[in-house]
Amino acid sequence: MSTAALVHVVVSGLATGSIYALMAISLVIVYNATRTLNFAQGEMLMVSTFVGWTAHQWLRLPLPLIMLVAVVAAALLGWLIERAVIRHSIAATHFDVLIITLGLSLVLRAAAVLAWTHDEFPFPSFFADRPIALGPVRVAPVSLGIIGGSLLLMLALYGLFRGTRLGRAMRAVAQNQRAARLMGISVERVYSASWILAAVVGGIAGVLIAPVIFLSSKMGLVAINGFTAAVLGGFGSMPGAVVGGMLLGVIENLAPLYLPSGIKHSVPFLLMIAILLVRPSGVLGRARRRKV
């Protein structure tokens, strides 16, 4: 295997890895606010991408506007789900909410099938597939574009969490809900904002990845990799989600190169089990002490 080919495979892994990272960030945002694993995150991404695509089919909108439509659709969907369903189950146990988000994922996927069939569709891309040469190395603009777009979004999120009132409120709620409430933070508003924000991140990820894995009612399954990525990085940590996603993307691509076929597909899961056993708080997470 030539170095050029290796570089290409790694860059390609970083591109899918950025999508995993964005999925992981969405999951973590929701988890930090409502302590819920959102099984429907992938399906929310799928629906908003479909809405953007439909706008493209009907109105022949340019791609940036498709992205905007998808993001608005995602925000609305996140808001609606939180207000109509999740908020009513605040009193319920985590297990109950888990089943609710599971139900949501089934409903969204089935609704997408009814609206857009089981078929797969090509999706317009910001970036070209044809390679550009950087010295001896060939890289696909689509990979670089996905990585760049994702990094930009992550930077924006960083700014939001550090620099805005809402971001600080979200971090406060993540750390200690009761204390946050006592400090005068509207926890309900944070719930709502978290679901919307997570959906928006997913919406952007959907538009970025749809040209690569194609648009279909089953594209939401990519969220499973988001779970793995979030755990690798330490569930709850944003930088962890980013590192976990990139790591997963690259490892998934390197495993088939160097490992016998018998084991290569299990690598992400074996790695996850190993990390959980050795370092449950993830590669970046801080060990948490349990208090009485």
Binding site: F95, G103, S105, F269, L270, M272
Partner: protein, 309 residues
């Protein structure tokens, strides 16, 4: 009154194959198998708060062990095959349970999820014994000279095993062990302080849960008659979790009812084709919104004592 109910229930189970159309005999077997898994999962999740998304993996281990034993040792009576399937799975449960002691809630859920994927990959790659993607045809179970070939014979096998396991579970939760498990669910630290050996009991819950699911896997192999890795995907694990949450965490009758509800729903909704996941999802959501805590929290089950929902 209680005795009459028991009697009526037992009689109904025994007479079912003679009263119901043949298909419903098969369906009842499937419900009982799922109920055994649900009870096993509930002993883990409902009683010690350790959530598992990997029980399809345990089911697969039990199913393949029972099937392979029956293929390679045809003289082995089915009871032994099931017992060995349960024990082998319990061993796997032990191997997974001990390292997982350090993990809680979400992390445990993810570790078990990964375990489920790894089991499926292992079945694919051990194809010299599991036949991998080609799938494995399961021979007819034998009990002495008796071949359990008909749906009715399989039904009685499943019901006998199910009754035994329900009885055992009811006894486990009623005893010291059950109380210890519940104490762990409420607060590990308080349980520890009251002298409960938390690590030992949590591991025990893992092992028992895996044993139940392994036996169910063996029964599954015999009633379905064919195994392939596609049967045991992560969605099956999720279905098992749905069964115990809908039925009620920490309740044995709840597990049975939950298993019955989900199994019958799946079966009935199969005719709705594209609408099946939609209807199923709506029912799940409605159940949890209007019945948080599951069916067991709303209905008093008069039959089993020691029910600590």
């Amino acid at each position: 009154m209680r005795r009459a109910l028991w009697l009526a229930g037992g009689l109904a189970l025994l007479l079912w194959p003679w009263a119901a159309p043949p298909y419903f005999v098969f369906l009842a077997s499937l419900i009982v198998v799922n109920a055994i898994v649900a009870i096993g999962l509930n002993l883990l999740s409902g009683y010690t708060n350790q959530l598992s998304f990997g029980h399809a993996g345990f089911l697969a281990v039990g199913a393949y062990v029972a099937a392979l034993l029956t293929i390679h040792a045809p003289a082995l009576p089915v009871v032994a095959a099931l017992l060995l399937a349960g024990l082998a799975t319990a061993l796997v449960g032990l191997a997974l349970g001990i390292p997982c002691l350090r993990l809680e809630g979400l992390y445990l859920a993810m570790a078990t999820l990964a375990f489920g994927f790894v089991v499926v990959e292992a079945i694919l790659n051990l194809d010299w014994i599991t036949r991998g993607n080609d799938g494995l045809r399961v021979p007819v179970a034998r009990l002495g000279g008796l071949a359990l070939a008909s749906d009715t014979a399989k039904y009685y096998l499943v019901v006998a095993a199910g009754a035994l396991l329900v009885w055992a579970a009811a006894n486990i939760v009623r005893t010291r062990t059950g109380r210890a498990l519940l104490a762990i669910r409420e607060s590990e630290i308080a349980a520890q302080a009251s002298g409960v050996h938390v690590a030992a009991y949590k591991t025990l819950a893992f092992v028992v849960s895996a044993f139940y699911t392994g036996v169910a896997g063996g029964l599954f192999a015999f009633i379905v008659g064919y195994l392939s890795p596609d049967a045991f995907d992560v969605f099956l694990s999720v279905d098992f979790v749905a069964m115990i949450v809908v039925g009620g965490l920490g309740s044995i009758p709840g597990s049975i009812v939950g298993a019955a509800v989900i199994t019958v729903l799946y079966d009935t909704l199969a005719a709705f084709q594209n609408y099946r996941p939609l209807i199923f999802g709506v029912i799940l959501i409605a159940c949890m919104l209007f019945m948080p805590g599951g069916i067991a929290s709303r209905v008093r089950f008069p039959v089993l004592k020691g029910d600590n929902a």
